[in-house]
């Protein structure tokens, strides 16, 4: 196998054992602490040594090969010994458009080592990462999962020298527009002008936890009914009506086992960074939403599963939980669990697999997670923003929330917008808002250029032409009507300097890197499509390549286990259908 980790014998120190033990005891089952324990081992040693498999297996009650499977699966665990400071530069779409390629070249020269290899002093290693969730700071970079904003030469140099002098930089705070662009229609971002919105005191000043006080006295079924009335839909990508999902949870009278509520904070969809911003700026809204939801579905355990790259956001949320707990606001404790930097962990069933300490291989419902989820318990998995909106639903009332949006897509949502716009960022708008309004809020197309393409909901959603984007209403059903999806609301605007072959290559390469490999069409199809596009990118396209890509896309979509596989096909099919000319330009002279 590819890992070159050392097999030399070693043992953990007593202190290390204590820390690992802590992970094993943190959750209801030992193995739930495995991933975070492995992160710790990676941080201590720059790798997870082969010889550590035995002691870890014993401690967590699994086999050695389970440990090694997990270690070789997740991107956080390095194949070779990593440097003390791991520098990640995003190479995904928005950052690529902003010049990530140049940043990477410069970094490689500065450090003098190839990707993944540690410098001779053991201080640094670097990687060209996939979306870090910081498209508003494109091209973005991070050191040891601390997001450091835009990778200007000065910023990168400052970060490197900070590390060299033993003072590694902490994450730069997220910026979001102080005044909501949708005026008084804003629900979540209404208090964003207030820099300390993340503290309990300020949050309460904005009416925070009033909804929870109300809900605390309601019957769980009534909470669910209110949520149903509001037409609030999942804002993490799937857009499933929230109340309907909660109703599928079997009550304890039917299934008397613990129930769980899991917040999906694994936001890794390229183009989406709204969860990052709202978590950091308004964490209490999440906690409030969690308490309300947990009451509605009778959850005994509440977790926030946070992507590894949001280290700063994890700290903010944990601080807020502590505040709320101290104020006696929590009926149920909330634990934040950190992932191991895999996009596929964002798929709900794969997320549960990661939480259970396994490879993130998505499951195949039925049964659905609300019936058999975490550890076999009925589990509701909801996106961060969705649960924050649940708090707003209880605050303003289900009918009012529904009215704020459009039929079947109630309320507002936070849109991430990046790419070729003047002011990339997070903007809250009611569902059904015209695309032009969102574009205007972001300052319009950068440099006043013409739009060539609009990606509406993250790179996993089929692309829209400017004609399709004109007059487009941003709600779930309107997007469906145009053959695409609202998804997680990550809008990327592409101007007429962009070549769609490059764009599709970046998207397919991302899917290929992140594919879990469980099912054959996605595992093989994503790699195949990426290699064809790479060849085309270099001007060596064959005449049949565009049609072959469409055919591959048709063959993958609908035949796979999870949506990542479907995306491999749908994105390619839409791109080639709508921008064929770009592809034909890359055909070599054969």
């Amino acid at each position: 196998m590819s890992t070159k980790t050392s097999a030399a014998p070693f043992s953990f120190t007593a202190e290390q054992r204590g820390a690992l033990d802590g992970w094993a005891k943190r959750y209801p089952t030992k193995v739930m602490g495995l991933i975070e324990a492995l992160r710790q081992v990676q941080d201590w040693y720059g790798e997870v040594p082969l010889a550590a498999d035995g002691p870890l297996a014993e401690l967590f009650g699994v086999t050695r090969h389970h440990i090694r499977e997990v270690v070789t699966f997740y991107p956080y665990f390095s194949h070779e010994k990593a440097g003390k400071y791991r520098v990640a530069v995003c190479r995904n779409l928005s950052c690529h458009l902003a010049g990530a390629g140049g940043v990477i070249e410069r970094l490689e020269k500065a450090l003098g080592v190839p990707e993944g290899r540690a410098t001779s002093d053991g201080l640094f290693s670097w990687e060209a990462a996939e979306c870090l969730g910081a498209c508003d700071h494109a091209p973005a970079f991070a050191v040891n999962d601390e997001l450091l904003g835009t990778a200007t030469p000065a910023a990168v140099d400052a970060a490197l020298s900070g590390c060299r002098s033993g003072k590694p930089p902490k994450a730069a705070p997220s910026i979001a527009p102080a005044a909501p662009k949708c005026g008084d229609k804003a629900l979540l971002t209404r208090g964003f002008a207030e820099p300390k919105l993340h503290t309990l005191e300020v949050y309460r000043k904005f009416g925070g936890y009033n909804a929870w006080e109300k809900a605390r006295k309601m019957a769980p079924a009534d909470i669910t009914a209110e949520v149903k009335k509001s037409n609030v839909r999942g804002l993490g990508g799937a857009g499933f009506p929230v109340g309907m999902k909660w109703e599928t949870v079997p009550p304890k009278s039917v299934r008397n086992v613990p129930h769980a509520l899991v917040v999906n904070a694994d936001e890794s969809e390229p183009g989406c960074f709204k969860d990052r911003v709202i978590l950091e700026r308004n964490p209490h809204a999440l906690i409030e939403g969690v308490q309300i939801a947990a009451r509605a579905v009778d959850a005994d355990h509440c977790y926030v599963f946070m992507r590894g790259e949001y280290a700063a956001q994890k700290r903010v949320v944990e601080a807020a939980v502590a505040e709320a707990k101290a104020a006696g606001l929590l009926d149920r404790d909330v634990l934040v669990m950190q992932g191991a930097n895999a996009y596929i962990s964002g798929c709900d069933t794969a997320l549960l697999e990661t939480m259970e300490g396994k490879k993130a291989w998505p499951r195949q419902p039925p049964p659905f997670p609300t019936v058999v989820g975490l550890n076999g318990w009925p589990t509701v998995v909801n996106n961060v923003e969705t649960l924050m909106m649940v708090a707003q639903v209880l605050a303003v009332g289900g009918d009012a929330f529904a009215a704020a949006g459009v039929p079947k897509s109630g309320g507002t949502r936070c849109f991430s917008i990046s790419g070729h716009v003047e002011r990339p960022g997070v903007y809250e708008f009611p569902l059904g808002t015209p695309f032009e309004d969102l574009l205007a809020a972001a300052g319009g197309v950068k440099g006043g250029r013409k739009i060539k393409a609009v990606i509406p909901g993250g790179t996993s959603t089929p692309v829209l032409t400017p004609e399709e984007a004109a007059g487009l209403k941003l709600d779930f059903d309107s997007l469906r009507g145009k053959g695409s999806f609202l998804g997680a609301g990550g809008v990327i605007v592409l101007d007429d300097t962009v070549d769609m072959v490059d764009v599709l290559f970046i998207i397919e390469r991302f899917l290929w890197v992140e594919s879990c490999g469980q099912c054959t069409p996605c595992r093989e199809g994503s790699g195949w499509a990426t290699r064809i596009l790479d060849r085309m990118r270099k001007g060596l396209g064959a005449a049949e390549d565009p049609d072959n890509l469409v055919r591959i896309g048709e063959n993958v979509t609908g035949k796979v286990i999870c949506a990542l596989g479907d995306t491999v096909g749908m994105v390619a099919m839409a791109m080639i259908k709508k921008y064929r000319a770009d592809f034909e330009k890359r055909l070599g002279k054969r």
Binding site: M1, S2, T3, A7, L50, T63, R64, H65, H66, R68, E69, T72, F73, Y74, A342, K359, Q364, W512, V513, E514, S515, C516, G517, Q518, C519, T520, P521, R523, E524, G525, S526, G527, W528, R531, I532, R535, A542, E544, N548, R551, N555, V556, G558, K559, V560, I561
Partner: protein, 532 residues
């Protein structure tokens, strides 16, 4: 037994038990659905995406291995959508698969080849360089791994995780960089390692013992039973008689387990699997002989040998009394062999208790919870059912005998100086050439007959090849000596012997020689005295 429900399969109205997997229901109806990851003994993960069907009312194609039969289900495995999905899944499996067919042992019995011919037949459009992984990796005593050929069906990992629980193999990595590999430092050396070669649909896991020896399409396959231990796993004997130069003159090329839900499921142990070599080993006794006064063996024809042995026995029995003749007999002899032996002993007047069938120390071995039994003989229960004592060793007869007729087991050393010593069997063992008479016995792969396993199940052995040289089954030897003594033995084939046995022995009453393929329990159940 679940209730039968009606559902539609490819337009036809059919019935199946409610809850049965559609892929199995289709198989029962004679409809083949191509698949890799599904295996009835290893579960249905639904990861290969090949067993696709169209289900009326479902927006996306479904997997037949993950869909259960229910009333009113309407399933099509041959619709254009289903066929395209099957062909495209094959295309994805083959996209990175190396063009190894000419050098791969799986050729001719490969599910990629076979399914391509039946469900694929598309033109390849792959122009890219394929992914490269480790090839020709020796991972165990019996198994070779080629990572490039692996299609990640996970059957082998599920086998070592759930059946043998030894966890040697796993899929490491992510995406198309995933590789099937050993856990570093481990070897695939559990006692059932050969089974992963059977379940691997492609040539990723191949048998080192069989490597490059002969092409699968040259082999003939005969269903039989392994005689390695008292479990009596159903097997298939694969023989190469078409191209003898391939297997170095060996006729029996390999053994494969045969599915038998009552005995061994889908598996067999390595000891049994690789025990076929005795069939063509140099130790095979091909002709009978008698030691001359010069100490050298003189060859005898079978007729001669039988006649002279009969003459000598008649004389010795008359002079010394038949109770001085002992029969040390391997409990792997078939029921037919033992029935003929009984008749011979009766004719000679030798008491039945003079037959020693209890396994010797060299015929006992390891036992486990999966398949292996500690008695490394195949027909202990059959012997008990026929009235032989199977618990007393030869010590009871020591010092009281003038003759020892040993069949298929090591001779008892101190008996070699006796007036009458005879060794009969297929493979010579230590000391067998010191016996005065040597009779060439047929190997179990050359034998038609029946054996009874430890749980009282009777199964059929079938001869895959004719006996080597002038060897003959034990019942034929006993029968011809019996005839030479003037007794009656009107049987030319094992079936005839069994018919007589079934008529004469209450334990086998009503049984026919053409037993069902899974065998059948003895009418009166497992004989009590069978345990050694």
């Amino acid at each position: 037994m679940a209730k039968l429900v009606k559902f539609k399969l490819n337009g036809k109205d059919v019935e199946a038990p409610e809850g049965q997997l559609v892929i199995d229901a289709a198989k029962d109806q004679g409809v083949e659905v191509p698949h890799y990851c599904y295996h009835p003994g290893l579960g249905n993960p639904g990861v290969c995406r090949l067993c696709v069907c169209e289900v009326a009312g479902a927006p996306k194609p479904q997997m037949t291995c993950r869909t259960a039969v229910k009333e009113g289900l309407d399933v099509k495995t041959d619709s254009p959508v289903a066929k395209r999905a099957q062909a495209s899944s094959l295309e994805f499996h083959l996209a990175n698969h190396p063009l190894d067919c000419p050098v791969c042992d799986q050729a001719g019995e490969c599910h990629l080849q076979d399914y391509y011919q039946r469900f694929g037949l598309y033109k390849s459009t792959v122009r890219e360089d394929k992914r490269h992984k480790e090839k020709r990796k020796d991972i165990g005593t019996w198994v070779m791994l080629d990572q490039e050929r692996c299609i990640q069906c996970t059957r082998c990992t599920r086998f070592v995780d759930n059946v043998t629980k030894t966890h040697e193999l796993a899929v490491f990595g992510r995406g198309d960089r995933s590789v099937l590999d050993l856990y570093p430092g481990m070897r695939l050396d559990n006692p059932y390692s050969g089974n992963v070669v059977d379940i691997c649909p492609v040539g990723a896991l191949t048998d080192k013992d069989f490597r490059f020896s002969v092409r699968a399409w040259y082999l003939d396959r005969t269903p039989s039973v392994c005689t390695g231990c008292a479990r009596g796993c159903s097997v298939e004997v694969h023989t190469n008689t078409k191209r003898p130069w391939h297997t170095g003159g060996r006729r029996v090329a390999r053994l494969k387990p045969r599915y038998n839900p009552e005995v061994n499921g889908w598996w067999m142990c390595d000891e049994g699997r690789y025990g076929y070599k005795s069939a063509d080993a140099k130790t095979r006794v091909k002709g009978s002989s008698v030691l001359g006064t010069d100490g050298q063996p003189a060859q005898l024809t079978p007729a001669d040998a039988a006649a002279r042995v009969a003459k000598e026995l008649r004389e010795l029995c008359a002079d010394n009394g038949p109770e001085g003749l002992a029969f040390l007999v391997s409990a792997s002899l078939t029921n037919e062999d033992l029935f003929a032996l009984k008749a011979l002993m009766k004719r000679l007047g030798v008491p039945l208790s003079n037959a020693v069938l209890a396994p010797g120390a060299d015929q006992l071995g390891e036992e486990d919870a999966l398949l292996r039994r500690k008695e490394k003989v195949a027909n202990l229960s059959g012997a008990a059912a026929l009235g032989f004592g199977v618990t007393k060793g030869p010590e009871a007869l020591k010092g009281k005998v003038w003759g020892a007729w040993t069949v298929g087991r090591a001779g008892h050393g101190s008996w070699i100086g006796l007036p009458f010593t005879l060794w009969q069997g297929a493979n010579a063992v230590r000391g067998s050439d010191t016996a005065r008479w040597v009779l060439a016995g047929a190997h179990w792969t050359e034998t038609d007959g029946t054996v009874v396993n430890f749980s009282g199940r009777v199964q059929r052995l079938r001869a895959a090849v004719p006996p080597l040289g002038e060897s003959a089954p034990a019942w034929a030897w006993f029968g011809s000596v019996l005839r030479a003594l003037g007794g009656a033995f009107p049987h030319d084939d094992a079936g005839s012997v069994f018919a007589a046995l079934s008529a004469a022995e209450p334990a086998f009453a009503g049984l026919k020689f053409e037993l069902p393929k899974d065998g059948v329990l003895l009418p009166k159940g497992r004989p009590e005295a069978a345990t050694a």
